[in-house]
Amino acid sequence: MSTPLFHEQNARQRIAAIIDAGSFDELLPPPERITSPYLAQLGIPVSFDDGLVIGRAKIDGKKVYLAAQVGQFVGGAVGEIHGAKLTGLFMAATRDRIPCIIIIESGGVRLHEGSTGEIAIAETMRAIFECRARKVPTIAVIGSDIGAYGGMGILSTCCDFRIMTEHGRLGISGPIVIEKWMGKKAYDSANRALVWKTSGGKTKYLLGDADLLVHDAASAVRDGIAKLLAKSRAVTLKAVKVRHKELADRLKRLGGTSAADELWKRLGIRDIEAASLASGPEFVAVAKGGKAGRL
């Protein structure tokens, strides 16, 4: 039997596939049955892990803290318990000086729990920056069908590094919401090519918002993580000024570009069709060959 692609796996399979065999020690595991009282009141099924698997493991013999969102459960959305588990995990990472990895599969805040999830995401952002202040690496992995949207999209940009697959998507407002706002002519949410060129891993890699673009396979994600585990990005005046210039240049140079293919061309991709069909690593090679000006 062939190995499933990373985006086809569920949260626990993904964890098992990227860590050293048998090294996972789940925190607040399902037998503890911590379930959302909000969903219960609304008559919606609950889950014993509230849609987030967290724990300790080893990758290449190095200790890591790991979180993986369960997309099958309310779209991986962040409720009070889910969010508190995430905040606690990053706090533990800071305390123990152990890198923390989050495999994101979430549309953002869980609407059924209203503002509790929103506050939890804000608290987790604070916890992530505590890690970074102590040079504890924080890595977001974005490679699922659901992607990283809403507050989780913003949260991913607070981490030191983002690893994406060509299948992953990173954004805030999703295509359906924008289509509602701007009309089908401006953004047809059923046009998958357009949706992926707007928010997909390839575009984010070209822009420099994804640090690594890897193949849609757990082994490739694992290799990517292993490369970054010993690295961190300090938030310094110099660093934020460099980033500020990059983002200002991007807006100046590409702000008038509305067509996705045009964006790719301006970023140095010559053969759009071939690049569209390329795997993550092939795309990286093409991008480098075209000397894509990563902004």
Binding site: L27, Y38, Q41, I54, R56, Y65, E80, I81, G83, A84, K85, T87, G88, L89, M91, R95, V109, L111, H112, E113, G114, S115, T116, E118, I119, A122, E123, M125, F129, G150, G151, I154, S156, T157, C158, L170, I172, P175, V177, I178, W181, M182, S199, T203, K204, L207, V235, L237, A239, V240, R243, H244, L247, R250, L251, G255, T257, S258, A260, L263
Partner: protein, 256 residues
């Protein structure tokens, strides 16, 4: 609020801003509000509170925050860090959300927000106190991308805080409005507004029209500290009972 009889030009780029948003600034900063410029609904400037000079960044008129707006807010935070070491930063929030636009998304709106947050993080580490006042709409991504990142967060009682109004929540979740309204009586997180948000610990204190808001702000800036106390507040006030204990449980189990 009394509106000026004269028509505001369409492309109003300079101070004074619309009279209503000006009135809010004056209420918070008195005469020193003159030092705050409003450009395309983004506020930047310097003002004073309780005799202390503060840096002000914010949004007004319920605007949407796009890439350029986030960049301008970030630029002003960097300016403050470079030119005014340790000066407190007051963030004002009146924004309906992130710009819902495909091109904004394609160009990486999330990264612009992440950059703004990084600038604020740097400010905090360098000793700038961060205090937020939600003055109008404080919704979704627009609140997350700067206001909710403060040391302490306050709200005027007229402000609308939250994820989205019950009607919009109903449209997405397919749960009927009356059901959500009934539930919101026992679940403050589903309610929209400053008071329920405070019950969850997301706001330190709500200021009413009768309060001496200038005095309140000066006090808030003076006593702000960098510890994140929101989970504690949420538990104490009963609006968010689980978060603190779950977090503690993670910390305890992981220490074993």
């Amino acid at each position: 609020m009394k509106k000026k009889p004269t028509k505001t030009p369409a492309a109003d780029k300079t101070v004074p801003a619309k009279s209503a948003s000006r009135a809010v600034l004056t209420r918070l900063f008195g005469r020193s509000a003159h030092g705050i410029a409003s450009d395309r609904s983004v506020l930047t400037g310097y003002a004073a509170t309780g005799g202390t000079e503060v840096c002000v960044v914010g949004t007004t008129n319920g605007t949407y925050v796009d890439n350029a707006a986030a960049l301008r807010l970030a630029a002003h935070v960097i300016d403050c860090i470079e030119r005014h070491p340790r000066m407190p930063i007051v963030m004002l929030v009146d924004s309906a959300g992130q710009e819902p636009n495909r091109v904004a998304e394609m160009l990486g709106l999330a990264s612009y927000f992440g950059h703004l947050l990084s600038c604020l993080e740097l400010a905090r580490r360098k000793g700038h106190k961060l205090v937020t006042v939600a003055t109008g709409k404080a919704i979704g991504g627009a609140f997350l991308c700067y206001g909710m990142f403060a040391d302490r967060i306050y709200a005027l009682d007229s402000a609308s805080l939250g994820l989205m109004p019950v009607q919009a929540m109903s449209a997405v979740t397919k749960i009927p409005v009356p059901v959500l309204q009934k539930l919101s009586r026992t679940m403050p997180s589903l309610e929209f507004g400053a008071a329920p948000f405070a019950l969850l610990g997301g706001v330190e204190e709500v200021w009413s029209a009768r309060d001496d808001v200038q005095g309140k702000l000066a006090e808030a800036v003076a006593k702000a500290s960098t510890d994140d106390n929101r989970a504690e507040l949420g538990k104490k006030r009963g609006g968010r009972k689980l978060a603190l204990d779950i977090r503690k449980r993670v910390l305890a189990q992981s220490a074993r």
